[in-house]
């Protein structure tokens, strides 16, 4: 179970029996557009507020994941979820609709893997027969809460990232068909003193590197043990910093395929996303869509998903505080 200092190795190998992804129009137009289950053309999803649109996506993803697992909502023991909104309302309100026992998490954009690691832990220790893990974000709710209302039309520097509109969910069970969750590493909060909320990738990169190094140390592995290592939403600036840090720490990431969900989901040359993507849904929809497809087909044997989160609040930014960051890693293996 506990391996090293901050990692878990799941000896009962919990299975991700189903996944579901819901995204907005910009994500649907991106290079991974055909890997998502539902693509909405309307950012508002017919709702009268962005917040309602966000939680509608979460509910859709959750219901679809349960349906694809061949279950009904009553068979789900726990829902583990979180999002970027104040008081994580999107997840809590979705849990109200689902009426499933619920753990609310706040890990900002690291929530995707934080919830998956906890779901795996619960299932691995016999605490549940089926756990639903999921997270969501919406471009307009995140802009409104963390920066400026979109209608204000405020300028953004090229280091800024574009919050993904979407929701991803999965069902974890002790047995079944599908990729297995084999290990997880829980990250420390790392703060390198960055204060610019328009450059979150740079703030989060050291946290991603710290967690990946901890994972290698705890499980006595290296980059060569993974077909792919993906970070959550470092985007162009953060990814380059992570590359440099690995080189400085003598970890050869060329032995694996090292990529970032924030760079995979959009075509930065054609889409107006500045440095790349961010948001809870970024790593969730890329992992539960594209990466899961490849694991199911056996095109990838073992991957490490390292979801990165910036634990800032609008208030701490206004008060000039630096941005603490975290990253959680989950290792997923193909069974085909």
């Amino acid at each position: 179970m506990l391996k090293g200092y901050q990692s878990w190795q799941f000896e009962n190998r919990p299975v991700i029996t189903s996944t579901a992804t819901v995204v907005g129009p910009e994500e649907g137009r991106g290079p991974l557009g055909n890997t998502f289950d539902i693509v909405h053309e309307d950012m508002r999803l017919g709702q009268d507020s962005w917040e309602k649109a966000e939680r509608t996506m979460m509910e859709e993803a959750a219901k679809l994941a349960v349906e694809k697992a061949g279950l009904t909502q009553e068979k789900i023991n726990f829902f583990v979820g979180g999002d970027l909104m104040n008081q994580i309302v999107s997840s809590s309100f979705s849990a109200r609709t689902l009426s499933v026992p619920y753990f609310g998490l706040f890990g900002a954009c690291s929530t995707s893997m934080e919830s998956l690691a906890l779901a795996a832990f619960i299932v691995n220790s016999g605490g549940a027969d089926a756990v639903l893990a999921g997270t969501c974000s919406h471009n307009c709710t995140a802009e409104k809460q963390y920066r400026y209302p979109t209608e204000y039309g405020s300028q953004k520097p090229p280091t800024a990232q574009y919050t993904v509109t979407g929701a991803g969910a999965c069902v974890v069970r002790p047995q079944g068909e599908g990729p297995v969750i084999e290990a997880a590493t829980i990250g420390r909060v790392i703060d390198m003193g960055m204060t610019d909320p328009f450059n979150m990738g740079a703030a989060m990169a050291p946290a991603a590197v710290d967690t990946i190094e901890a994972h290698f140390r705890d499980l006595q592995r290296g980059p060569e043990d993974y077909d792919m290592i993906v970070t959550g939403d470092l985007a162009a600036v953060g990814k380059r910093i992570a590359d440099d840090l690995f080189e400085k720490h003598n970890i050869d990431m060329h032995k694996t395929h090292f990529d970032d969900c924030g760079l995979m989901i959009y075509d930065r040359d054609k889409q107006p996303v500045n440095a790349g993507a961010s948001g809870c849904a970024c790593s969730a929809v890329v992992t539960y869509g594209h990466l899961m497809n490849q694991l199911r087909k056996g095109e990838l044997r073992r991957i490490l998903v390292v979801a990165t989160g910036a634990l800032l609040s609008p208030l701490t930014v206004q008060q000039g505080e630096s941005i603490p960051c975290i990253a959680h890693a989950v290792s997923i293996e193909s069974t085909t």
Partner: protein
């Protein structure tokens, strides 16, 4: 260009940038440098937002000369009243027709 530098180099927020430019306009006029700037730059210096600072101080100084110290308070809005009233009236009209979602 000055505003863009304040954004990108000094990392100021839009609100801070705007307020700073207003204050800069006011200080320049207080030092008697804004009129020469208008003569040099023409329309470039008479459009918002530095011109607003200039107008505030200009009005206050004009009424100070005419009515004494009380003019500093009443004069601030003398020259700027058109801008402020337009702001209030058009925001009111916009709020009747649009519902912002943020």
């Amino acid at each position: 260009m000055l505003g863009q530098l304040m954004f990108d180099v000094l990392k100021l927020t839009p609100a801070h940038t705007m307020s700073t430019l207003v204050v800069l306009g006011a200080i320049t006029d207080g030092l008697g440098l804004y009129e020469p700037l208008i003569e040099f730059a023409g329309a470039g210096a008479t459009v918002p937002i530095t011109s607003f600072g200039n107008a505030l101080v200009h009005g206050a100084l004009a009424e100070l000369k005419r009515d004494g110290w009380i003019g500093v308070v009443t004069g601030i809005f003398e020259v700027t009243s058109a801008g402020i009233s337009a702001g209030i009236i058009f925001s009111f009209l916009a709020s009747l027709f649009f519902k912002p979602k943020g």
